[in-house]
C-alpha cells in the first residue's frame, strides 16, 4: 500500500524528469546544429559599446556575409570564467570573445586564444596608437584586436567647484588636496572626493594611475613587478592620507566604478576619477542640468613636467578568437568588422581606437573631450601583462585594502604585496 502511494507520488516526478531530459536532448541537438553554422560571440554587458549597437553590427555582418552571429552578453565579473570554461571544450560555445587587457597574457599563455593574424596586426599598428595596441601584446605577439579605448579621466562637479570658490579643476595632486580641504571646510561636501577603492580590480586601477602620478609604474613587461618603489609608496600614502583627512569618502572602500560614478554624478563629491563611460552619463537626465568637467588626471607637483603631464590607467579591451574555434577566419573577419573605424564612427559615445576617426572633424564636433582624451592617453599606464596577473592583482588588492582600512601601514602593505607577487612570479609556469 505504502509502495503504491510512493509510486503514485513519484510518478509525476518521473514524468517531469523524462520530459525535461527529452527537451534538453532536443535543445542540445539543435544547439550543436546551430553552432556548426553560426558564429558566436561573448560580449560584456555593462560597459563599452551598448549591446544594441553590437547586435546591429552583427546583423550587418550577417547581411554582408550571410553568416549568422549569435551574441551572448555577460557581466564582466563572469566573463573570465565563461571563457575559461569555453576553452575546456572541444567545441567552444564562443568563437569571438571580448578580452580585458589584463587577461591577454593569461589567455595567450594558456592557448585559450589565438594570436591576431598578421594582416590584422599590420592594420592595427598602422591605424592605432601603440599606447593602445601594446596592451594586447604578450611575448611579441598581439593577442587581441583593439576594440575599446577605455581609460580613466579626472571629473569635477563644476557647480560644487564654484560653490567651493574654484573656477577650474586641480592640475596637481597637491592642488587636489588643497581644494578638497577647502570644499570640505566650506561645507560644500562632507567628503569632496569619491573613488572606487573596493577590494577588486578597480582598486588596482586607481593604484596604477596614482603610482604613475607619482612618477612610477607597475607595468613591467619583461621584468619584476616592483610595488615597493617610491612612487608606489607615495601613491599608497596619498590614498591613506585622503582617507584620514576625510577628503575621500570612506564609502569608496566599498564602491566600484559604477557606484562611484553615481555618487559623483548625483553630486555627493566634487572630484572623482573614473572610466570614460561617465562622459556619456553626464549628458543623461537628470545629470545634464549639472555642470561637470572632465580633465586630465592630476599628478604630483614634482611630476608636473608640462601642462599636459598626466597619468591614467588603461582599461582597454580587444576582440580575440578562441583557439578551439572552428570558424577562426570568420571569427577574425567578424572581429575586424566589429572593431572598425566605420563602426566606431557611428558610436562616438565611446572613444574610437582608430586614429583616423580621431582626426575627422565630425568626431571633434561630437566629442568635446577628444583632445583631453588624446592627451590623457599619453600618460596611460597598463597593468602588468603577466599570465598570473589575477593572483598578483588579488594579493595587491588585499594588501592595499589593509593599508586603506588602517590595518597595516603603507610600507607593511606594499612589502607584503611584494612578497606575494614575488612568490607568484617564482611559481613554475604551466
Amino acid at each position: 500500500m505504502r509502495l503504491n502511494v510512493v509510486r503514485n507520488r513519484l510518478l509525476p516526478l518521473w514524468g517531469i524528469l523524462f520530459s525535461g531530459f527529452s527537451l534538453f536532448f532536443l535543445a542540445g541537438t539543435a544547439a550543436m546544429t546551430a553552432s556548426a553554422e553560426n558564429l558566436r560571440m561573448l560580449y560584456m554587458a555593462q560597459a563599452g559599446y551598448q549591446p544594441q549597437s553590437i547586435q546591429e553590427r552583427a546583423k550587418e555582418f550577417t547581411h554582408d556575409t550571410g553568416v549568422p552571429v549569435d551574441l551572448t552578453f555577460a557581466e564582466y565579473e563572469d566573463q573570465y570564467n565563461l571563457i575559461a570554461e569555453a576553452a575546456a571544450g572541444k567545441i567552444p560555445p564562443f568563437d569571438v570573445i571580448l578580452v580585458d587587457l589584463i587577461w591577454t597574457a593569461d589567455f595567450a599563455r594558456h592557448h585559450i586564444i589565438d594570436p591576431v593574424p598578421q594582416p590584422l596586426v599590420d592594420r592595427v599598428k598602422s591605424g592605432i596608437i601603440p599606447e593602445i595596441y601594446s596592451a594586447f601584446e604578450y611575448r611579441d605577439r598581439m593577442w587581441a584586436y583593439p576594440f575599446l579605448a577605455n581609460f580613466q579621466l579626472f571629473y569635477s562637479n563644476s557647480d560644487l567647484l564654484h560653490k567651493a570658490g574654484f573656477d577650474r579643476p586641480p592640475s596637481t595632486l597637491e592642488e587636489l588636496v588643497h581644494m578638497a580641504e577647502l570644499a570640505k571646510a566650506r561645507g560644500v561636501a562632507d567628503y569632496p572626493i569619491f573613488e572606487s577603492w573596493r577590494k577588486q580590480e578597480v582598486l588596482i586601477c586607481d593604484f596604477v594611475w596614482l603610482v604613475g602620478a607619482f612618477g612610477g609604474s607597475l607595468d613591467a613587461p619583461h621584468g619584476r613587478i616592483n610595488v615597493e618603489s617610491t612612487a608606489a609608496r607615495r601613491a599608497l600614502d596619498f590614498m591613506v592620507m585622503l582617507l584620514k583627512k576625510g577628503l575621500v569618502n570612506p564609502y569608496s572602500l566599498q564602491s566600484d566604478e559604477l557606484f562611484s560614478a553615481d555618487a559623483f554624478l548625483w553630486g555627493d563629491a566634487l572630484f572623482t576619477t573614473n572610466w570614460t563611460f561617465i562622459l556619456g552619463r553626464m549628458n543623461e537626465v537628470p545629470f545634464n542640468s549639472t555642470h561637470f568637467e572632465a580633465s586630465l588626471i592630476p599628478v604630483a607637483e614634482a611630476e608636473k613636467k608640462t601642462a599636459s603631464s598626466t597619468s591614467t590607467v588603461s582599461g582597454f579591451q580587444g576582440l580575440s578568437v578562441m583557439s578551439n574555434s572552428r570558424h577562426k577566419d570568420l571569427a577574425w573577419r567578424f572581429a575586424s568588422y566589429l572593431s572598425s573605424p566605420e563602426f566606431s564612427r557611428r558610436h562616438l559615445e565611446e572613444m574610437s581606437v582608430w586614429k583616423q576617426v580621431w582626426n575627422e572633424a565630425w568626431t571633434s564636433e561630437r566629442d568635446p573631450y577628444l583632445s583631453i582624451k588624446r592627451a590623457e592617453l599619453k600618460g596611460v599606464h597598463n597593468r602588468p601583462a603577466e599570465p598570473d596577473y589575477r593572483s598578483i592583482s588579488a594579493a595587491l588588492q588585499d594588501w592595499i585594502y589593509q593599508a586603506l582600512t588602517g590595518k597595516v601601514t603603507s610600507a607593511v602593505a606594499l612589502a607584503g604585496a611584494q612578497r606575494e607577487i614575488d612568490r607568484v612570479a617564482a611559481m613554475p609556469s604551466e
Binding site: D190, Y191, N249, Y251, Q254, D262, A263, W266, G267, D268
Partner: protein
C-alpha cells in the same frame, strides 16, 4: 354653561364631528407616528453607520500611523539609507528615497543627524516651523515618534525612526504624509463617508459636502466629540472623534453621512402615505357618516321627535324600539319613562285633586304670596276667614283670578311683608281684624315658601279663626276671676270677721261688765284684745294692699349667694331653735339679673314656710344653681308635707293651713316670681317634706 357655543351644537353634530375628529386624529397620529418611526429608524441606522464610519476613520488613522511607522522603520533599516547616511551620500540617498516616495505613498522624507542638523530633505521640510522643531526635539529626546505640523494651510503627519548602524544612532529619518485633500480622499475611500478633518483653524476635506454643512459641522466638531453623539445637519448626519490618536488634542475628524437620498425616500413615503391616509380618511368619513346615519342619526331623529311630542304633553305618542343597541335601549328607556310619566301624571293629578280637596276642606286659611306681593294661591277657608274676594274658580289659579294683595287686612299684609322683606315670621300670633264690619280674632302663622332649589319664593300665611275660642276663654276667665274674687272676698271676710267678732265680743264684755268688780282690770285686758285685733285687721289690710299693689321689677346683676344670705336675715331664725338652714350655691360667684329685694322676699317667705312646716325642727335646704340661661332656686324642707289637693290651692290668696296667717304669703311669692318672668312649682308628699322650685329666666 361653560361653553355656550358648544352647548348650542347638537349632540348628533357633536357625535358626527367627534367621529370625524377621531378618524382625522387617528390618521394624523398614525401618519405622524409612522413618519416618526421611520425617521427614528433611519436616524438609528445612520447612527450605526456613523459609528462604523468613525471607527473606520479611527482605524484608518491608526493603520496609517502604523503603516507609516512600518515604512519609516523599513527605510531606516535599509542598508543604503544607513550607509549613505553614515557616509553622507546625501544625493544618492535622495535618489533612493525619491524612488521610495511614490510607491510608499509618502509625501516627504527627511533625515536629521541632530535636531538642528538636516541631512536630507526629500520634499519641503518646514525647518522654520516651530511645531516641527518642537516635534523633532521630542523625537530626538525619545519622547514620541510622531507628531503633526501645521504651517499655513499645510498639515503634515510625521513619523520617525532612528537610523542605527550596529549600536550607533546615525540620525533619524522621518516620513510625512500631507494631511490634505488627497489624504482625506483616501480616508473617505476607506470609510465610505464624507470626512472633514478639523485641525486647529484648518478644515481639510474634499469639498464633497455643501459649504454650509462643512462650516457648521466643523463648528460642531468639539461638541460632538464631547457628547459622543451625532447630529443631523441639513440632510447630513455628522459625528466626530478626537484626533488624539495622532497626538492632536484640539483636532477632530468629522464624518458626514449623506442622508439626502434616505430623507427623499422618507419624504416620498410620507407624501404617499399622506395621500393614502387622505383617501382612507375620506372613505372613513363616508363610512362613518353612513354608519352614523344608519345607527344613530335616524333612530336619534325618531327618538327626538318622540321626546319632543312627549315633552309637549303628548304622552300617548309611543316610542318604538327599532334596535337593541344603546339608542335602542335609550328608546326603550324613554318608552318606559313615557309610561311612567303617564302613571305619574295620573298620580299627580290625583294628588293635586286630593291636595285641592284638603285645601278646600281645611278650616285654616292658607294663602301664599310671592315676593312681588302677589297672592299666588288661597284656599276657600282663607277667603271665608279673611274675606278675600277670589276668582270664579276658587283659589287654585295664580293669574288674575286670585284676589289682590291689597285686599288683605293691613295687619295681615304687614306680617306678610315682614316675612317677605325682613325674613321675620310669626307663629300663632293673634291678630284682631275687622272682616265685614265684624271683629275677628285670627291666629296667624307665617312661614317662608321655599322652592325645591332652596330659593325663597314668598310667604305661606296660615290663618285660623279663633274668635270663638277666644270669646269662650275670656268668658271663662271672667268667671274664674269672679270666683277668685269671691274666694278672696270670702277670705277677706273671714280674716276680717274673726277680729271683728272678737272685738264685738270684747266690746260687749266691756259694755256689760261696767258694774262688775275688777272691771278696770278686765276692761284693760279687753281693750288690749280689741287693739290687738285692730292691729290684726290692719295687718290684713296691709297685706291685702301689698298683694294688690302693682309690682315694679328692677333687675340688676346680683350675686346669687349674697341675695340668699340677705334673704335669710329677714327670717326670724331665733324663733326656730331646733331648725337650721343649709344654703348651697353651686357657683358661689355666680351673678344673675334679678330684683334683689323682691327675690329676697320670695326666698325669705319660702324658708320661713319650710321652718314652719317642721314644728319638731329640722333643716331647710336652700339650693341655687344655673341651668342654661335659667336660675334655679330650690327650697326644701323635711316637714309634714301637703297633699295634692292642698298643693293646687297653695298659691291662692288667703288660703292657709296655719292657725295663724293671712294666707297671702305664697300668693305674694307666686306673684313676685311671675313678675320676674319666672315660674314656681311645688313638689310635696305627705310626711316627706316639700320642695319649692323657683325658675327665673334671663330675659
Amino acid at each position: 354653561m361653560k361653553h355656550p357655543l358648544l352647548s348650542r351644537v347638537k349632540i348628533s353634530t357633536k357625535l358626527a364631528l367627534s367621529i370625524v375628529v377621531i378618524v382625522v386624529v387617528q390618521a394624523l397620529v398614525m401618519q405622524a407616528g409612522t413618519s416618526r418611526l421611520i425617521a427614528l429608524t433611519n436616524q438609528q441606522y445612520y447612527s450605526g453607520q456613523m459609528e462604523n464610519r468613525l471607527r473606520g476613520v479611527s482605524t484608518y488613522l491608526s493603520e496609517t500611523l502604523n503603516d507609516m511607522q512600518v515604512k519609516v522603520n523599513l527605510l531606516a533599516g535599509q542598508k543604503k539609507v544607513v550607509d549613505y547616511t553614515e557616509y553622507r551620500l546625501r544625493n544618492l540617498l535622495y535618489r533612493e528615497l525619491v524612488l521610495f516616495k511614490t510607491p510608499l505613498r509618502i509625501d516627504s522624507i527627511a533625515i536629521f543627524l541632530a535636531p538642528d542638523s538636516l541631512f536630507l530633505n526629500v520634499g519641503d521640510v518646514e525647518l522654520s516651523n516651530e511645531s516641527f522643531k518642537r516635534g523633532l526635539s521630542d523625537v530626538f529626546a525619545n519622547e514620541r515618534r510622531f507628531f503633526v505640523t501645521r504651517q499655513e494651510l499645510l498639515v503634515r503627519l510625521w513619523v520617525f525612526s532612528d537610523i542605527i548602524k550596529d549600536t550607533t544612532v546615525l540620525g533619524t529619518i522621518g516620513v510625512a504624509v500631507d494631511v490634505d485633500r488627497s489624504f482625506v480622499n483616501r480616508l473617505e475611500n476607506n470609510t465610505d463617508a464624507t470626512v472633514l478633518l478639523s485641525i486647529g483653524d484648518h478644515i481639510i476635506d474634499t469639498w464633497s459636502a455643501p459649504p454650509a454643512v462643512r462650516v457648521e459641522a466643523a463648528q460642531l466638531g468639539p461638541s460632538l466629540v464631547k457628547s459622543g453623539g451625532d447630529r443631523v445637519l441639513r440632510g447630513y448626519m455628522a459625528g466626530a472623534i478626537p484626533l488624539s490618536i495622532i497626538g492632536e488634542s484640539d483636532a477632530t475628524a468629522i464624518c458626514l453621512l449623506d442622508m439626502s437620498s434616505a430623507l427623499r425616500l422618507i419624504s416620498r413615503h410620507n407624501q404617499l402615505s399622506m395621500v393614502f391616509a387622505l383617501l382612507i380618511l375620506v372613505a372613513a368619513v363616508l363610512l362613518s357618516y353612513l354608519f352614523y346615519r344608519m345607527t344613530f342619526l335616524t333612530p336619534f331623529t325618531r327618538l327626538r321627535k318622540a321626546v319632543r311630542r312627549i315633552s309637549e304633553g303628548d304622552f300617548q305618542y309611543a316610542i318604538v324600539q327599532h334596535s337593541f343597541d344603546e339608542l335602542g335601549e335609550f328608546a326603550g328607556a324613554f318608552e318606559q319613562m313615557r309610561r311612567s310619566l303617564i302613571r305619574r301624571d295620573e298620580e299627580l293629578s290625583e294628588l293635586e285633586r286630593f291636595n285641592n280637596l284638603i285645601l278646600e276642606n281645611v278650616r285654616s286659611g292658607v294663602v301664599t304670596v310671592d315676593r312681588s306681593e302677589r297672592v299666588i294661591s288661597c284656599n276657600p277657608a282663607a277667603i271665608a276667614i279673611i274675606g278675600l274676594r277670589s276668582g270664579e274658580n276658587g283659589s287654585r289659579n295664580t293669574d288674575g283670578r286670585m284676589p289682590g294683595f291689597e285686599t288683605l287686612p293691613d295687619s295681615l299684609a304687614t306680617e306678610v311683608r315682614a316675612g317677605l322683606h325682613q325674613d321675620r315670621y310669626v307663629t300663632a300670633k293673634e291678630i284682631r281684624v275687622g272682616v265685614d264690619s265684624k271683629q275677628v280674632i285670627l291666629s296667624l302663622t307665617t312661614s317662608p315658601l321655599f322652592a325645591r332649589d332652596g330659593g325663597n319664593m314668598g310667604v305661606i300665611m296660615i290663618v285660623v279663626d279663633i274668635t270663638r275660642e277666644r270669646r269662650l276663654e275670656e268668658q271663662l276667665e271672667r268667671s274664674s276671676r269672679m270666683a277668685a274674687m269671691g274666694e278672696m272676698a270670702a277670705g277677706v271676710a273671714h280674716q276680717i270677721r274673726n277680729p271683728i267678732a272678737i272685738m264685738k265680743v270684747s266690746a260687749g264684755m266691756i259694755q256689760s261688765g261696767k258694774d262688775r268688780s275688777g272691771y278696770e282690770e278686765k276692761n284693760g285686758q279687753l281693750t288690749d284684745v280689741i287693739v290687738n285685733e285692730i292691729d290684726n285687721l290692719d295687718h290684713v289690710v296691709s297685706n291685702l294692699l301689698n298683694f294688690t299693689r302693682p309690682i315694679e321689677v328692677h333687675r340688676q346683676e346680683r350675686a346669687v349667694r349674697e341675695v340668699i344670705d340677705d334673704a335669710l336675715r329677714l327670717v326670724p331664725l331665733y324663733q326656730y331653735p331646733d331648725s337650721r338652714v343649709d344654703v348651697r350655691v353651686h357657683d358661689q360667684g355666680v351673678y344673675f339679673p334679678l330684683d334683689k329685694s323682691l327675690l329676697e322676699q320670695v326666698i325669705a317667705n319660702l324658708v320661713q314656710n319650710g321652718l314652719d312646716a317642721m314644728p319638731a325642727g329640722g333643716t331647710v335646704f336652700v339650693r341655687a344653681f344655673l341651668r342654661d340661661t335659667e336660675l334655679w332656686i330650690e327650697v326644701e324642707d323635711a316637714g309634714t308635707g301637703i297633699d295634692e289637693e292642698t298643693a293646687k290651692q297653695i298659691f291662692m290668696p288667703f288660703f292657709t293651713t296655719k292657725n295663724r296667717g293671712t294666707g297671702l304669703g305664697l300668693s305674694i311669692v307666686h306673684r313676685l316670681v311671675e313678675q320676674h318672668g319666672g315660674t314656681i312649682d311645688v313638689h310635696s308628699r305627705k310626711d316627706a317634706g316639700t320642695l319649692f322650685r323657683v325658675v327665673i329666666r334671663n330675659d
